[in-house]
Structures are given as structure tokens and as C-alpha cells.
Amino acid sequence: MSGLLAILWVIYLGAEDPAGLIATLVIGITDGAMFALVALGYTMVYGIIELINFAHGDVFTLGGFLGLPLLGLFGITSGTKFAWVYVPILVFVFVLVMGLNGLVNITIERVAYRPLRNAPRLAPLITAIGMSFILEGAMYLWRGPVSLRFPNLLPDTVASRFTSPAGHFGLNSGSTAAPLIDIGVKDVAVVISTVVLVILLSVFINRTKLGKAMRATAQDRDAAQLMGIDINRTISATFFIGAALAGAGGMIWALYFNSIRFDLGFTTGLIAFTAAVLGGIGNIEGAALGGLLIGIIRALNERYLSASWSDVVIFGILIMVLVFRPTGLLGMRVPEK
């Protein structure tokens, strides 16, 4: 019902000012792609050990923090501009950051969550919050309370410039000079890299033996052990992959906004967590969808309502979902018998 109203509202906005709406949607989809990368880690970890890993948002920030000095090793500093020679370096640094981030998260699980696996739920939740503070504190001590300048490595050029499609829809037919809409290469790069990562993840989860073992562990830990699955291994793999995606997200974020700060993960983490809940926590497709929706909702709110209300709107959604539809949009559809 409320979804229908929202869609009607968006159609109305589109009729009023198509160019503005499309530009807003582009922003929303780009931000949403980044939220989705972080939301995937929340949902995967929740799916397998039913823990809300509050440190996950900071693992995301850590990706950017690790990426900066690694780029520096290749002579890329905050002033460096885009050039094709940097593309392979960038890809290499991405892979390295993802791997390092994954190892950090495996360590976190080993130290802070595994010893508490059979303890009451609240205990690992508290250590997760503790880990979050530790990570933020470590990044604060490392680089200080300032925003780090990140190189603007993605080209600022426009990928696609087209006139407002209003004419095509028969709207605004009277206006002669339709406004232009720009979609930047940056936005396209963010969305494409996210799509690639999500496809890789989905192939891994659904096709490989370890991926299937991870799903089995998430659905029934004891039964998984009876199949011969080493659940410590699948849980470690889950933390690794979640952190690798978040690390990629942190790098993408930093390259897109050209700045990153030690406490970025706090709000971004909460937004991504909301995205995971909206999509249905534990559900991978749901996290991707939730990320996208939250990004779009946030962008619409910032353009048409007020940016200062963003957090209110997002946490309002979180509360509404938890109250009215706790399984989220794509939550567990098959009943457990």
C-alpha cells in the first residue's frame, strides 16, 4: 500500500520534472550500489550465525583506509588524475584490499565471536559493538580525525548525455529546449563494479561446493555437520567474503567521493543494515535489492524533502519493516517444516 503511494509519488515527480527525477535516480542507484555491497556482508553473516555484526560498517571503512597506502605504493597520491595505465593497478589494489579486509574479518570472528558461539545471543552482539569501537579507534590512531583525501582516479567525464526523455513520453511537449541529463563515468563505474561483484558472489554461493556448504550451514548447522561440513571453515569463508565485498565498497566509496574518515562506517553501516533488513535479513538478493531501494529513497528524500531528514526517513523505514514485515521484502519464503 505505502509502496504504491511511493510509486505514484515518483511518477508524479517524473511528470513535473523528468530531468531532475532521472538525475536523482542516478544518484540513488549509485549510492544504493555501494550500500548493497555493505548490506551483503550483514546479511550473509546474519544468515549463517544469526549475529548482527556491528563491526561490519567499520570493516567497510577499513577497505578505504587500506586502499590509500596501497595506491601510494604505486605512486598514486591524492593529486593523481585518471589515466588508463592506472586501471590495472586499481584492479590489483582492489583485489589486495578485498583479501586483506577478508583476513581482518576472519580474525575478528576468531577472536570476538567464535569463543561465544554457544553463549547467549546478547554476548556476541556486545563484542560486535566492541569490535566496532576498536576498529574505529585503530583507524583514528592511524590517520587521525581528519577526512583523508582520496585520489580522483575515476574520470570525471560524462558517460552519456541525452536530452530529457519527456518528449518521448509526450510530456512537456510544448518546451523546445529540453534539459540535459548527465550520467558520469564515475556512476557507471560504481554500478558496473557492484553488479560484477554481486554476480560473482551469486555464482559462488549457488554453484560452488564451498558456496553450497555455506548455504547449508546457514540453514541448519547441525545437519551441515552431519554432512561432513566443517562449519568453522564455512563461517570463516562467510566472514571473508562479506568483508571482501565491504572492502571493495569502501574503496569504491572513497574513489567516488574522494574522501574517507575513520567514522564513516558508523552511519553507512546502519544504513546498509537497514537495507539488509528491508530486503529480508539473511537473503542475499534481498540485500542487493534493499541497498538499491534505500539509495533511491535517500536520494529522493534529499532532493524533494530535506537532506537533514535522511536519517529519520531511513530509520523510520527500519522501524516500519521490523514492526510490519520483519521478514523484509524477500524474506524466507519457504517455511521450515
Binding site: 548455504r215 541448519d220 547441525d222 545437519a223 555437520q225 552431519l226 554432512m227 519457504v334 521450515e336 517444516k337
Partner: protein, 236 residues
């Protein structure tokens, strides 16, 4: 020396003792039934053998080697497979993926495909539903899938926990005839059942568990004819 031996096994859930010195064995070619009322420790016995929990006292050995503290994920590889109580399928995975999960610890591809075919011969209904999510199957189909999944591990001993629970009488017949068939192919079966009369009828030997203690043991026939057992478990 029997294939699977438990000797004086004590097991606890927290401070509550669930098993008191349980001693039992399963030998090659046998169907051994484990009967008893709710909470007698039947499932706990299987969990202890599978390594999902470990005994506080006593030993478990399989094929001449001590597996008392072997991890659950390693037990299957040795050839002890369990179809757990409540079936515990992977509800959000397809039927075929559930079967392949059963073969998780195996590497012999040709053998896995052969066993898959065999499972489909035993349970044609499971083959019909191969692409469906396991959670959408009926209770009977789920039980067949759970047994098929356990068979996919190529068991040297197969443990079935309440395979007939909640099934229609006609399906109970099917399940028990398949148990006999599996056993006739040379797989020893340790069968936990509340349906004592059915279990004792197919079992070569049986144990009666009462509040964590082996109260009685004997051949299936002996126990079927024993007055105590008739009174307590057969409702006669």
C-alpha cells in the same frame, strides 16, 4: 569386535545427565533398533555417536578405531551417517542439492552419480521432485529425501532417527520396507523408533532405553514377546 561400539557412555546437556553408562553395539549386516519413550536418550545416543556432542565418560569406537572425541564433520567421512530426527533438510535448497550435500565428504564422482541413481531407484518420488525446494515437499517425501541424503554419503553404518514419525500408515510401510532393502544390500542400520512394534519386527537385535539407561536388550523377536516391553511400548 563389533563395527560400532559404545562402552559406558555418559552424556550431559549442561548439568542434566542424559545418558548413564550406555553400552551397545552394531555389527556388520545388522538392523539394531533403539526403542524407548520420549526423553529416554535415543536421540542423544545418536548425537553422541555422530560427534555433535561428546561423552563425559566412556568410549565410542568404530571399525576398531576410537572416535569418542572425533569432530562431527569428520565422522561422516569414516562412514557413519545419520538421518536426524525431524529430518533437518536444507529447506531452501533443491532436492538434488540436498542429495549432493549428503555426498559432501566424498570425492569419487562416478560413485556419487551411481549412488544418486540408486537413491532414485529406492525413492522414485524423490526423483520426480528433484528440482523443487526441499521445504516444499510433503512430510513423506521429506523423510525419503532425508534417508536418500544419508545414503549419498555411502554409509558403513546408517543411523535413522524416527524415520516413521508423523507419516501416514502406508508411507510407514514404504519406509520400513526400504530400510530392510538397504540392510539387505549390506548396510548395517541403527534404528531409533517410537513405533516399537514396527522397529522390533524388522530388527535383528534391539535395546530398550529408559531415562538414559539401557534397561533391556535382546533379539527383536525376544523383545517383541517380552511382557515388560509389550506393556510399556506396545500398548498391549
Amino acid at each position: 569386535m563389533a563395527l560400532l561400539e559404545l562402552h559406558g557412555v555418559d552424556a550431559f546437556y549442561g548439568r542434566v545427565q542424559a545418558l548413564h553408562g550406555v553400552t551397545l553395539e552394531v555389527d556388520k549386516g545388522e538392523i539394531v533398533a533403539l526403542i524407548g519413550s520420549n526423553g529416554a536418550g535415543k536421540t542423544t545416543t545418536l548425537r553422541t555417536i555422530s560427534g555433535l556432542m561428546h561423552p563425559a565418560q566412556g568410549t565410542i569406537s568404530f571399525d576398531g578405531r576410537d572416535i569418542t572425541f572425533t569432530e562431527a564433520s569428520k565422522i561422516v567421512g569414516l562412514g557413519i551417517c545419520q538421518s536426524p530426527e525431524g529430518r533437518r533438510l536444507f529447506a531452501r535448497m533443491s532436492v538434488i542439492d540436498n542429495l549432493y550435500m549428503g555426498a559432501y565428504s566424498r570425492k569419487d564422482r562416478a560413485g556419487i552419480e551411481r549412488d544418486l541413481k540408486h537413491v532414485f531407484e529406492l525413492f522414485p518420488r524423490v526423483e520426480e521432485r528433484r528440482a523443487q525446494l526441499a521445504g516444499t515437499l510433503s512430510g513423506g517425501e521429506q523423510q525419503m529425501l532425508a534417508m536418500g541424503r544419508a545414503l549419498m554419503a555411502k554409509p558403513k553404518v546408517l543411523m535413522l532417527d524416527e524415520p516413521s514419525l508423523g507419516l501416514a500408515p502406508i508411507l510407514v510401510e514404504t519406509i520400513f520396507s526400504v530400510i530392510k532393502e538397504i540392510n539387505a544390500e549390506g548396510v548395517p542400520v541403527l534404528l531409533v523408533e517410537q513405533n516399537a512394534s514396527k522397529a522390533l519386527a524388522v530388527a535383528h537385535r534391539a535395546y530398550v532405553l529408559e531415562t538414559g539407561v539401557v534397561a533391556k536388550e535382546g533379539t527383536g523377536k525376544e523383545l517383541l514377546e517380552s511382557e515388560d516391553v509389550q506393556k510399556a511400548y506396545l500398548g498391549m
